[in-house]
């Protein structure tokens, strides 16, 4: 007899099977989130899970929580309205790199600057996967995608550095190979008050792997990412040139600042 995973109770009834490709990292990261949520006893009645558009954005569709879905890049504006009106709700965003770094880039900077109280899990699969594998702001240089047939000539974004510079108060990056570190980072992010971002570099066998790496094998995709990953402790010893082709992993920052309550707040002294 098949045993049902105890995490299954966090999924919306009737929402399976999910639509992720075999070997997709987004499905794995949904699992990471559920484990993290389970380990800290997250209250799903007070959870609002938000996705924009894309593969990662589908994760909230499967969660048995309040959910918003279907508009590309506007996850943080939604969150801003929700959190200002009801700060007691827990908002978790599942964003792809396109959602976070491309179309939603300005919202990302502004929400980090404001220290909006939100957990943002960015699944960085290094390309626009749902639309067929186009180049993204996170794609490494020289890689072949459907819109960079002669190799990517753009510089990639370092989302973690961007978040730190903009004012985020919890920033972490891991990959799907280091699952326990990723789960722990998500747990910390969920317990953090303020703008918490966890970026997880993730394999996309079908649309990234086949084109950029020449293989649709998920395990080879995971391996390729892990081979290019270096912890922040070791990264300091590497020359900048070499670092630009690496994924620096670690918990970069964790600090406490007042969270955003609105642009105009009237507070009587002594209250």
């Amino acid at each position: 007899m098949l045993k049902t995973s105890p995490l299954r109770r966090y999924l919306r009834e009737g929402s399976l099977p999910h639509f992720f490709c075999p070997g997709c990292g987004a499905a794995q990261i949904m699992n990471f989130f559920l484990r993290a949520a389970d380990e800290i006893d997250l209250d799903f009645d007070k959870l609002v899970a938000i996705g924009g558009v894309g593969c990662t954005a589908r994760i909230p569709v499967y969660l048995n929580a309040e959910a918003l879905h279907g508009i590309h890049g506007r996850t943080l504006p939604w969150t801003t309205g929700i959190k200002l009106h009801n700060p007691d709700l827990k908002v978790v965003i599942f964003a792809g790199d396109g959602d976070a770094a491309a179309i939603g880039g300005n919202h990302f900077i502004q929400a980090a600057r404001r220290n909006l109280d939100v957990t943002m899990i960015v699944v960085n699969n290094l390309n626009f996967a749902m639309t067929g594998g186009q180049v993204a702001p996170t794609t490494l240089q020289e890689l072949t995608t459907t819109t960079t047939p002669y190799g990517n000539r753009e510089m990639p974004f370092d989302l973690c550095q961007l978040a730190i510079t903009a004012g985020a108060t919890f920033v972490s990056r891991w990959n799907t190979y280091r699952s326990r570190r990723a789960i722990n980072a998500i747990k910390k992010a969920l317990q953090h008050k303020g703008f918490a971002m966890v970026e997880i570099v993730s394999q996309c066998p079908i649309n990234f792997g086949r084109r950029a790496l020449g293989t649709g094998d998920p395990s080879k995709g995971v391996q390729w990412i892990e081979e290019r990953s270096v912890t922040v402790e070791k990264a300091g010893k590497l020359p900048e040139e070499e670092l630009s082709r690496k994924f620096v992993l670690g918990n970069f920052i964790e600090k406490h600042k007042p969270v955003f309550k609105g642009s105009s707040v009237y507070e009587v002294e002594g209250e």
């Binding site: 919306r12 309040e66 918003l68 508009i71 969150t79 309205g81 929700i82 300005n106 105009s264």
Partner: protein, 381 residues
């Protein structure tokens, strides 16, 4: 005068149009506002920034109009009565959010203080964008006030309609009235009708979030009340599950559009001036009704049987009222401050019944009553 800390400033005021919008919103129970700076809508944001925190609401100066409209939809789902305001160029950016609010059925109010492209002069050029500016199918409700008093009244009405039908409602403001100061009378709170959204009357396990009763409007719980609803732009069934099926899609939008179309008689408001035996009828909306009414009165004084049909609700089209005029009059003058846009709707509705003449002005200026008087006189000479 009531003190400035009250939500409803009952009394008689001499007020700026943009400020009247804010007071109307607060009287309606608005407790979330987001806006991005843009002329000539700035006084709405500035007044909100001062007033909203005093009455327990939230004010956001957004990073762009996309953030305005999406924070408004987010706040609304969290239980807020939410509004944003902008001017034409900013209204462009909001179309994505309006489309989402239509599909996910999120009550909210949008004020568009129309301005000429690139300049702040008067216009009614956004009238078509207000109807179908977003991608996908929908019918919307657009109200066209003509005075500072009506900016107050119609903002309340917009909230009531948004809450009643779970749709975005647009208040079509104009530079003319937004930046005008006039008398405004704010009634006692008890004297104003305030409608709030329907809430579920069954527990979460029995609740189908997108199943509606005969009125087509499903009840809407707030986030965090335990209902765990998926609010997606994607086609969804009554449970809210994303579901592609031609029939599901068709019935979903039939119901959503039906909320407006099946309640036209309750939604549509017009005002008739001198329509008895009128042979030449001006049809106008918004601030253009002011010179139009003047012109009709002048014409009547000269013995010309002129009248005015004022469209308070611009969308959905008051077809019944326009058709009645077309059946009676020998000519309709379609008065507008743009290149002639709504005139197409008037021509459609009165096709074969009477002649429609477009009286348009696209110079960043409202018609003068003399200009409209001359237009009437040309019809009888």
């Amino acid at each position: 005068m009531t003190d400035n800390f009250g939500r409803v400033l009952t009394g008689t005021h001499f007020m700026l149009g943009n400020h009247a919008v804010v007071e109307g919103a607060l009287a309606a129970g608005c407790n979330f506002f987001a806006g991005y700076p843009i002329t000539p809508a700035n006084e709405i944001s500035e007044h909100m920034a001062a007033r909203m925190p005093l009455v327990g609401g939230k004010f956001l100066q957004s990073e762009d109009e996309l953030c305005s409209i999406f924070s408004v939809t987010g706040a609304s789902l969290a239980g807020a009565k939410a509004m944003t305001a902008t001017a034409s160029a900013g209204f462009n950016y909001m179309q994505e959010g309006i489309g989402y609010a239509v599909a996910a059925e999120i009550p909210c109010v949008i004020v568009d203080v129309q301005r000429c492209r690139g300049e702040n002069y008067a216009t009614q050029a956004d009238v078509m964008q207000m109807r179908w500016g977003a991608s996908g199918d929908y019918e919307t409700i657009v109200l066209a006030p003509l005075s500072v008093q009506e900016l107050f009244d119609h903002t309340i009405k917009a909230f009531n309609l948004a809450e009643k039908y779970r749709i975005p409602v647009i208040v079509m403001s104009e530079t003319t009235i937004a930046l005008m100061r006039e008398k405004l009378v704010i009634p006692e709170p008890e004297a104003m009708e305030i409608i709030n959204r329907k809430k579920p009357d069954v527990p979460p396990e029995e609740f189908l979030p997108f199943k509606a009763g005969p009125d087509g409007v499903p009840p809407l719980p707030d986030f965090g009340e335990g209902y765990r609803i998926l609010h997606s732009l994607n086609p969804h069934d009554e449970r809210g599950s994303i579901h592609w099926d031609p029939d599901v899609f068709d019935s979903m939008y039939k119901r959503i559009i039906g909320k407006t179309n099946h309640h036209r008689d309750e939604i549509i408001e017009t005002e008739a001036f001198f329509l008895d035996e009128a042979e030449i009828v001006l049809i106008a909306y918004g601030s253009e009704c002011r010179p139009a009414l003047d012109a009709v009165q002048h014409a009547r004084a000269k013995g010309i049987k002129a009248g005015l049909l004022r469209l308070i609700t611009v969308w959905p089209v008051p077809e019944k009222e326009i058709r009645a005029v077309a059946e009676q009059a020998s000519a309709i003058l379609a008065v507008e401050m743009n290149i002639g846009k709504y005139a197409g709707e008037i021509e459609r509705v009165s096709a074969g019944l009477c002649k429609v003449v477009r009286v348009i002005k696209n110079q960043g200026l409202i018609h003068t009553s003399n200009e409209l008087c001359a237009a009437i006189e040309r019809m009888v000479s």
